[in-house]
């Protein structure tokens, strides 16, 4: 299943520039939304670049386009501004991955798509 280019381009502000939104009450939404709970309004917020692992796994299997990367570590990360992301955790010895470990975001290739090998980018996390 290929991602059509408008669909890819639409997410570039989040995948390349980590653009989120912060509501008046201080809650961060990543990605930004058109509608916020309680009718709140929000302004642009750039995600904190560091955070900690809340939970993690080592995937021995992955979707087809990620299969040649297995085994890889996957984590849910709480960034220092309170926002949360799901991200691959790379450049790490799997035996050292643990809950609470400090990580930072890096801009990385996520996958190559289709027979043409088109490169798709985004964020991964690495040990801080």
């Amino acid at each position: 299943m290929k991602i059509r280019s408008p669909r890819y381009a639409r997410e570039i502000p989040q995948r390349y520039r980590y653009e989120a939104a912060k509501t008046k009450s201080g809650k961060i939404f990543f990605p930004p939304r058109l509608v916020y709970p309680g009718g709140e309004t929000a302004t642009k917020h750039i995600l904190a670049q560091t955070g900690k692992v809340l939970t993690w796994t080592i995937q021995s299997t992955g979707p087809a386009e990620y299969a040649d990367m297995t085994p890889y570590a996957m984590a849910i990360v709480e960034l220092d501004d309170g926002a949360r992301i799901t991200s691959m955790l790379v450049d790490v010895e799997h035996s050292t991955v643990k809950t609470g470990m400090r990580v930072r975001i890096e801009f990385r290739k996520i996958r190559s798509e289709g027979h043409e090998g088109l490169l798709c980018y985004g964020y991964k996390v690495v040990p801080e």
Binding site: T57, Q59, S60, P63, M74, I85, T86, R111
Partner: protein
């Protein structure tokens, strides 16, 4: 609202059914249910199905299934809530009768999952998570539940042995169910040494890819009392439905299924009972950790006690709160859209006393819990035998 009764059920042997198409699986289960109930027509029908488009390149199931069941122009509605599609079909069928709109409703579910290869099936299933913000990062469903398992283990001390006991128990039950995909027992050692899928979850902590259909016939309880009375009267006394965030990372607590807690509270309130009054349950054990978290969310066990309860045998056929007497998703199979309907079938059979070798001793109330994705939706029904 009118009381609603289950009067007939139908399914077929589940598994890799290369001899059956998407439409065959639904229509076979549906016709079996119609014959079992002894009804001469249906007023309306539902089709719970997660992803016939991705699994079988076929949408517009309302027309397809009504056509191939030979009941056009009967109203037909296909509903989707990922792995909870069957439970949602049940709720809508129940509503349609409770409201007085229809008298005889066919509630069915189906998934044809083996007409695509493993990668394509994994892709289709992954669309029940957040494609842009989870799937794109390379996460799979086993990985999402593995992260829940890790959080549960670190918070409550749940062990891999306890997770494995869930699989052993469900296979022991499934071995007594001739319709199950994998009707054989497995040992604790086999489970704990099976192939690693997403640490700490191994292959035998995960439900399989399955072809299958399931269907039930619902009528007003009054009609069951007067016309369709070959069996003990079994009615729906509670129905609960709730949603939660699509992405797991957006949830405040990864160690509980909030949508299940809320849906359960709604169903208990409607039924006027609590978890202690439930004799047994069919729950959504897509992964072993899910059964543990769900039995806690349903209030059967305190938070953190789901694992120890499974290890002590409290959820076994002979335990104080039997869970997944059918074998659950693990052993019976998990044709996604059919699962929620098959849960209703197992509870009905137990309440009728027709569960064969896995029959419980005189149960009165059973609960079904069917959830979508990593817990983004939950459907709960409570059925009671009226003597």
């Amino acid at each position: 609202m009118r009381d609603v009764a289950v009067i007939g059920v139908g399914l077929q042997k589940w598994g890799e059914r290369w001899d059956r198409s998407l439409r065959d699986l639904y229509c076979e289960a549906a016709q079996n249910a119609i014959d079992d109930a002894g009804v001469d027509h249906i007023d309306s029908m539902y089709i719970g199905c997660m992803s016939s488009g991705l699994f079988a390149a076929q949408e517009h199931l309302a027309s397809l299934m009504a056509d191939y069941l030979g009941v056009t122009p009967c109203p037909a509605t296909r509903v989707e809530s990922a792995c909870a599609s069957g439970g949602l079909a049940m709720r809508l069928g129940w509503m349609e009768i409770a409201s007085g709109v229809s008298d005889i409703v066919l509630v069915g579910g189906v998934e044809k999952m083996t007409d695509v290869n493993g990668d394509e099936a994994t892709f289709a299933l992954a669309t029940a998570a957040d494609t842009e913000w989870e799937g794109y990062q390379g996460v799979t469903f086993p990985a999402l539940y593995a992260m829940m398992a890790r959080a549960h283990m670190e918070k409550y001390g749940t062990t891999i042995e306890q997770l494995s006991h869930v699989s052993v128990k469900n296979h022991a039950n499934g071995a007594l169910n001739p319709d199950a995909q994998y009707p054989f027992p497995v040992t604790l050692e086999t489970v704990m040494n099976s192939t690693m899928v997403s640490d700490p979850l191994r292959l035998l902590h995960c439900s399989p890819i399955t072809d299958g259909g399931a269907a039930v016939i619902l009528v007003p309880a009054e009609l069951a009392r007067t016309k369709y009375k070959k069996r003990p009267l079994v009615t729906v006394i509670g129905s609960g439905h709730a949603t939660d965030t699509l992405a797991l990372h957006s949830r405040a607590d990864f160690t509980t299924i909030k949508a299940t807690e809320v849906a359960a509270q709604r169903a208990y309130k409607m039924a006027g009972i609590g978890p202690k009054e439930i004799d047994f349950a069919e729950v959504h054990d897509c992964f072993a950790i899910a059964e543990i978290m769900v039995t806690e969310a349903l209030g059967f066990f305190e938070k953190g006690n789901g694992g120890p309860a499974a290890e002590r045998g409290e959820t076994a056929l002979t335990g104080s709160k039997p869970i997944n007497t059918s074998g659950g998703l693990k052993s019976k199979g998990h044709p996604v859209g059919a699962t929620g309907v098959a849960q209703i079938i197992e509870v009905s059979r137990q309440l009728w006393g027709e569960a064969g070798k896995r029959q419980l001793k005189n149960p009165r109330r059973g609960l079904t819990q069917n959830m979508g994705g990593s817990g983004g939706s939950t459907l709960i029904h409570i059925l009671e035998r009226k003597d």
